[in-house]
Symmetry: C2
Subunit: 342 residues, 2 copies
């Protein structure tokens, strides 16, 4: 290493400007290839080492996306929105997937140590982090589609972009109620997973309370996962146990699709025998029969804002922020009007 | 830079072994955190620079996945199989998505320059690369789900893992033929895209020829993309133009799902009025009604072997290789038997 060599020296050696050398060394794309090669060669020969340690210099433009839950169809859709925003800001995306019951903070801590990341986008995670758990995370991060609802972090401790999950679930159940449904089953993840599932289940219970409907736990079934096959088996269990519901609220589109299939396989028509309503707004939910009625997450906004917040933090332009966005009702043929006496 | 400092010196400074220093500097995870920190600090203070240039040292464990076609539902499924294999071998995955009509070689060349990759997994791409185009790609790569069928590369010039697309299409059409279908429509990408679509279309035509059926181009519709919405619109155009087919072959599950929806929206029952058969084997295709009959790609094998071939190349254990795997017929309710006179 040769700390006395500066980018001014390299600029002089290459007969170019300091800002051009800086752009090359920072990996900006707006420099011609011959000039880039010349600058890099000169920097190398002169033994130039950027400020900061050897560790921080490498992978200096990498953001990691840590996706929790491989089988959840919503994440590829969100990822598709995140990626162009990451590229637009000249960052690269390292992708890491873990299981639904995996520990995203542990995965992140390992990655930060191994990969010298600049920041992390968490796609899904627990809602109850503590300050102590987050301490090893030395880089900015944004919780995408969740918050610290069950934890005790302060707003300044982390960033998030999300819908209001509890409110969305209330809205979904309210939508079914307005269509006359009174016995509304729920397909959830776990009753108390301290995660998105719990919040959406809370919204379901809140909606029932608001409309004076009793909570009938026999109408609630846990999928213990967010993938199609677990959700299908859970819906099967529910249908085997009970047939006295006219509507089913699924906490995600993936679960809603699986529920429709389980109902149809059990000889029940959707929506004639049972209406189905979900939250997320998958693209594929438009292409099943009947189309799944759902509350769409604004994926384009979530993707854009998550990257904006993270990059603003990385580049020191802003502190932690929280963005809560609304859902949009997507019409679908999976819900029908019934008379409340049905 | 201080080229005279060797890892032996650092090992001595840290009172540890050369192999431990090597493991730390190569980013292996099996070193305790305090020791890792001590080695890195010593290396930095001593001005250690690894063999090779400044450029090649950084991101020394990164593989890029370049996915061509954001809306193709098959790729998230393949990615889910690739990722654990990448992690298992101590590599990280940089993800880059481009449009279906994007230039994956150009994207790769830029990434190689910017990111110091060790290798590339291409998820989808053209089948007609030339040696000249590939010259700037200085790292090993594996074409996942395609080969150089329309180009003139030699086997030693690249690696690939794929099904036999033409053969799979023949098998799909043959399956429909055996069920009595004689007027079989096709939903394809482009007639001559020098890509997977063309190969599968060739298989469709070959199957017709083998069974003495005429090619009726009025029964062929191009989606100009692999996403649901383009495929749906293409199926709509086909249905508006013709109703005299008893079966439809879609070159991908994504297209098959969209076609079933378009048929149902046009008042046609699947399979009563029209059977639908596809290739790929998406998970979600099991959860639509009727379930889509399809030829499954062996995703687990493709993912495992693609990573194995790439890592063997990167680590110098083997040269370029080509793996062709078979498809498996997945039963589905979207195909019915008809009498050949139908």
């Amino acid at each position: 290493m040769n700390p006395q060599v500066t980018i001014k020296d390299i600029a002089r050696l290459c007969n170019t400007s300091v800002s051009t050398v800086s752009r090359v060394l920072n990996g900006h794309p707006d420099v011609s290839e011959p000039l880039r090669a010349r600058v890099l060669e000169a920097a190398e020969k002169a033994g130039y080492v950027a400020n900061g340690s050897l560790r921080n210099k490498s992978k200096a433009n990498t953001i990691a996306v840590i996706q929790r839950g491989e089988g959840n169809l919503f994440f590829p859709q969100l990822l598709q929105s995140l990626l162009p925003n990451i590229y637009k800001r000249q960052y690269s995306c390292l992708l890491y997937q873990i299981a639904t019951d995996g520990d995203e903070i542990r995965a992140a801590t390992t990655l930060v140590r191994k990969e010298r990341l600049l920041g992390i986008l968490f796609l899904g995670g627990r809602f109850n982090y503590t300050k102590e758990e987050l301490a090893p995370l030395s880089v900015p991060f944004v919780c995408c589609t969740y918050t610290n609802a069950f934890g005790c972090l302060e707003a300044g401790d982390y960033s998030s972009v999300t819908i209001d999950d509890s409110q969305a679930a209330r809205r979904a159940v309210h939508t079914l109620y307005k269509q006359g449904h009174r016995r509304i089953a729920a397909l959830i993840h776990e009753e108390a997973d301290h995660s998105i599932g719990e919040l959406r289940y809370q919204g379901y219970k809140a909606a029932l309370r608001e409309h004076g409907l009793p909570l009938d736990t026999g109408l609630v079934e846990c999928a213990h996962g967010y993938d199609l096959s677990r959700a299908y088996r859970a819906a099967e269990r529910l249908i085997q146990r009970r047939r006295d519901f006219t509507a089913l609220f699924a906490i995600s589109d993936t679960m809603g699709l699986a529920a429709m299939k389980a109902l149809q396989d059990a000889g029940l028509q959707v929506p004639a025998d049972c209406s189905v309503m979900a939250i997320d707004g998958l693209e594929v939910s438009r292409y099943v029969t009947p189309t799944l009625m759902t509350l769409e997450q604004p994926v384009a906004t979530l993707g854009e804002e998550a990257v904006r917040i993270l990059v603003d933090r990385i580049e020191g332009r802003a502190g932690n922020r929280h963005l809560v966005v609304g859902t949009r009702l997507r019409a679908g043929a999976s819900v029908r009007r019934v008379s409340p006496e049905d």
